[in-house]
């Protein structure tokens, strides 16, 4: 009845919690998914790394390949070139996205959702397509070629222009989130203290979004330095790391040098990724639960200027899309501009076919279905399983790795790993499954983080309540977790589908004649000089991705209003 002091009693033994059958199921599935990631990311990375220390015969030669890389100006100058264009892009895009996001969140400009939608255009296309549109605009026969004042498109100018277009929505998304985290009370306090608008901007607005800006900078950096589509089309003789990998492997069949350049490209990508993670962790701590959302007030001058800016950006974004569309329909650029569908007859082109398009759809569908299931189950087990800390921590780390690995590096790593003669998994090389596996892994991290965010928003005690009611975890997973997280699940599947449609970098080394993909077909048709059909294939991807986004929006709205009626009072 009362406290019984255990006087002089020996230290009682440590209690070892009993691991139930269900716990074992959860652990084994978690280990299974972790093993999948080990096989599809860690081992290939090891394969490409060891390749960079070997010669063509497979003998270990230490740093000889690296020595060759750094003694060949044509190769190591690429580092400087890559950094130059990347940093220029970062400055331009982060600034533009900052102003654009500011206009959308802190001013009273009209048509905000339209501007938001327009800014997402680049997400729908492979980065090859804006580059092709640039060729039509500023290339040797470009319609507004003169706007470059005699400078040539092919080279740093083209790369910067194309990359800025391509990464704009990604950077904007981060800026919008950072700006949305504003606290109106700080602005009211600043107002009440008589601070000027400009002073408020520098003392309240900027400090509150500084982590967002830094994060946006790193994301932009990673995307640009690892992108391959834009420099491939408009890079000309200006070599960057991403195109070098492709040239070494596809052009010169020098796989070892390809591996070396990959390792060189991996470094800045890993660094930017790590820096971004550190910054994001801080951003979370900034949020306060009692913050009051900021409501902008009309200000003619600022609103007018912001509207003009958004219109200009929106015009550029739609202009590039319109150019690509126009080029795909024009009969014979620039001599016969009558509309026709002749460029859509892909089966007649070198390097393209309608099969490629349907392969892409098939690949994207598999990626969306398998990827979503795996990512969501993996995230669920990491978040909700009990005990097994070492396993869950390892899994969390594994989930973060894919984001740091550029697509080209991943693709080449797969070549080395899966094409190795002694690999028992070699049978999937040159098949559809390897494309799906590669794409799922490539886009694993963002999907995982989306799932984790959704799961963290759920009441942490659902599992405890279910356990007290003796309901097995898988039942609660299907009846509660999945329905509650359905919007996030749809987000993940759409993200995977659209990215599988548009990705070029990872799959460019992995397709076979039977499994050619639409995005790769753009590359090959452009290489073969069939630029208009390449644009046409790009438009097919844009249309498909846009269609999927539309279906996603309708589905999400339907789910929210019907099966999730409980969300509303």
């Amino acid at each position: 009845m009362t406290q019984s002091a255990a006087i002089g009693a020996a230290q009682p033994p440590i209690v070892k919690p009993k691991v139930s059958g269900e716990d074992w199921i959860m652990r084994w599935v978690l280990v299974g998914i972790a093993l999948y990631l080990v096989v599809t990311i860690l081992l290939p990375l090891y394969a490409i790394m060891s390749k960079s220390f070997k010669n063509a015969d497979g003998a270990y030669i230490g740093l000889a390949n690296y020595a060759k890389f750094f003694s060949t100006p044509a190769l190591f100058w690429s580092i400087e070139n890559s950094l130059t264009v990347t940093l220029i892009c970062c400055v331009i895009v982060v600034t533009a996205a900052f102003i654009y996001a500011y206009a959308l969140t802190r001013t009273c400009i009209p048509c905000k959702s339209l501007f938001k939608g327009v800014a997402l255009i680049p997400i729908l296309m492979p980065s090859l397509l804006p580059a092709i549109a640039l060729v039509y605009l500023f290339g040797n026969q470009g319609i507004i070629k003169d706007w470059l004042f005699g400078y040539e498109l092919y080279g740093p100018i083209g790369i910067v222009m194309g990359e800025c277009f391509y990464v704009f929505p990604h950077v904007l998304t981060i800026m919008l989130i950072a700006m949305a985290n504003s606290d109106a009370r700080l602005y009211e306090a600043s107002d009440a203290l008589g601070a000027s608008k400009i002073k408020t901007f520098f003392t309240v607005t900027l400090p509150s979004v500084r982590y967002g800006v830094v994060s946006a900078f790193f994301v932009c950096f990673t995307l640009v330095i690892t992108d391959f589509g834009v420099p491939k089309v408009v890079g000309g003789k200006y070599n960057v790391l991403a195109t070098d990998i492709y040239k070494q492997v596809v052009g010169r069949q020098d796989f070892e040098m390809g591996a070396v350049v990959s390792m060189v490209l991996l470094l800045p990508a890993v660094f930017a990724f790590a820096a971004d993670r550190i910054v994001q962790r801080r951003q979370v701590a900034l949020l306060s639960a009692c913050a009051v959302p900021f409501e902008p007030k009309p200000n003619r001058l600022v609103d007018g200027a912001m509207l003009a800016f958004c219109c200009a950006v929106g015009f550029i974004l739609t202009g590039i899309l319109a150019m690509a569309a126009y080029a795909s329909f024009a009969k014979f650029w620039p001599y016969d501009l009558t509309m026709s569908l002749k460029h859509y007859n892909f089966d007649l082109m070198d390097g393209g076919s309608w099969d490629a398009y349907f392969n892409s759809i098939e690949m994207a569908a598999w990626t969306a279905v398998i990827g979503t299931a795996m990512v969501f189950i993996g995230a669920y087990l990491v978040e909700k399983s009990k005990g097994f800390h070492s396993g869950r921590t390892a899994m969390q780390l594994l989930c973060m790795i894919p984001m740091a690995v550029p697509g080209l590096v991943l693709g080449l790593a797969y070549v080395f790993f899966f094409n190795a003669p002694n690999n028992p998994l070699g049978f999937i090389y040159h098949t559809m499954p390897i494309l799906v596996i590669c794409t799922v892994t490539h886009f694993y991290t963002v999907s995982h983080l989306t799932a984790v965010t959704a799961l963290k928003q759920m009441d942490a005690e659902f599992e405890s309540v279910s356990a007290s009611l003796k309901v097995p975890f898988y039942r609660t997973f299907i009846r509660i977790t999945v329905p509650v997280c359905l919007p996030a699940i749809l987000d993940i599947s759409m993200y995977l589908f659209v990215n599988a449609m548009t990705t070029v970098s990872a799959v460019v080394f992995l397709y076979s004649p039977d499994t050619a993909l639409a995005s790769v077909a753009i590359l090959n048709m452009d290489d073969a000089g069939d630029v208009a059909p390449a644009a046409a294939m790009g438009m097919m991807i844009v249309a498909t991705a846009a269609g999927v986004r539309l279906i996603h929006a309708i589905l999400t709205r339907g789910i929210l209003t019907r099966t999730q009626a409980w969300r509303h009072r």
Binding site: T2, Q3, S20, V465, S468, L469
Partner: protein, 365 residues
């Protein structure tokens, strides 16, 4: 309480829980009898929720044993234990209606549909939510959600009901109403219940016995009246209700000197020897205030320095006229009127020895 003997329904022995270097529970032992309503009471971070979660198996203890109905359940996962639980957040399944929420544990038992429906209907009546059965949790008020959670926890007829701060997310008025409802329900079903709370009023009103905790150890276990009248430590005296803490010296003859004011020390004084520094605790409502010295035995003159109006009574801050520490005394509204209590008023106060509690000075909270 069935003091008559028989083994307790739940027995916790030498329980210790460590999170890394932090010891959340330090060698805690207690026993709960069948049908009893026990409250774990303490400030946040005292280990009360940790203890509850160890009993549930949600965060299993580092060392020590838990026995329920004669079985050692120390290492078992929650699924293999026998309890129902209500969390502060209620954790109602947002995508299931009230009916489906309550039926969730029953459906899993492969019970016939009709039996499930009957049991759910019974529970709906029990918690008074029959007309809301088709609604979703988000469409209910906080108090209604709380009752759904309770019905869901009771649905499978567990042997033990665990309530983790079940009322703290509610408005003050609703909280007081639900206090009675839960207590009534518990009494009606006779289920052994443990409730965690940081609200002393709640614990006093609901519990058969209260377990007062602080810094991972149990300070006192007892009935509400025991705990209120005979706090085992200055911490308990301070945490439950309001108490005057006064530094004092023990002098001869069982008397104490509170900075010059000499008064009888009561039973507790016998435990100390003259010259000891002690802490004296006396509740404001136990201080006797009179208009003249003759009315009280050992009365001494005081001056009113401040008056707080607290609705049904006045809390007066009194300063001994001969110097010494200020203390508080509660006066009912009509007494305060009769005495014309206001700042500067001279009165007499008596510290009745039967209510004085004395603790060694170093124990002072």
């Amino acid at each position: 309480m069935n003091d008559a003997g028989g083994p307790p329904y739940l027995r916790v022995d030498n329980l210790t829980k460590k999170f890394g270097d932090f010891t959340a529970l330090n060698n805690v032992s207690l026993a709960v009898n069948e049908g009893e309503f026990v409250c774990f009471l303490g400030p946040s971070g005292c280990g009360k929720t940790t203890l509850l979660r160890a009993i549930a198996g949600l965060d299993i203890q580092t060392m020590g044993t838990v026995e329920q109905a004669g079985h050692d359940i120390s290492a078992l996962p929650p699924k293999e234990r026998d309890f129902g639980i209500v969390f502060q957040s209620y954790a109602l399944f947002p995508n299931l209606s009230v009916t489906r929420n309550i039926a969730y544990g029953l459906e899993n038992k492969k019970m016939p549909r009709a039996e499930i429906d009957a049991r759910v209907a019974e529970l709906l009546i029990l918690v008074g939510l029959s007309e809301h059965k088709t609604k979703y949790p988000a469409q209910l008020s906080g108090g209604q959600q709380q009752r759904v959670a309770l019905a869901r926890a009771l649905a499978t007829s567990p042997g033990l009901l665990l309530l983790d701060e079940p009322l703290s997310a509610l408005d003050a008025k609703v909280r007081i109403r639900l206090r009675h409802e839960i207590k009534h329900l518990q009494h009606q079903i006779g289920i052994t219940t443990i409730m965690v709370t940081h609200d002393q009023e709640e614990a006093l009103a609901m519990a058969d016995r209260i377990v007062v905790m602080n810094h991972g150890v149990i300070e006192q276990i007892g009935t509400p009246t025991e705990i209120y009248a005979n706090p085992a430590s200055p911490f308990v005296a301070d945490f439950i209700g309001t108490t005057n803490f006064m530094e004092a010296d023990v002098i001869d003859g069982g008397r104490i000197s509170i900075s010059g004011v000499v008064t009888a020390g009561g039973e507790d004084a016998a435990r100390f020897k003259p010259g000891d520094r002690v802490t004296v605790c006396l509740r404001p409502e136990d201080v006797l205030v009179t208009e003249d010295a003759a009315d009280g035995n050992g009365a001494f003159p005081v001056t009113v320095t401040d008056v707080e109006f607290l609705g049904s009574f006045y809390r007066c801050h009194l300063k001994p006229a001969d110097g010494g520490a200020e203390f508080r005394a509660d006066l009912s509204a009509n007494r305060a009127r009769n005495f014309d209590v206001r700042e500067g008023r001279a009165l007499f106060a008596t510290l009745p020895e039967e209510f004085i509690r004395i603790y060694a000075a170093r124990d002072a909270a």
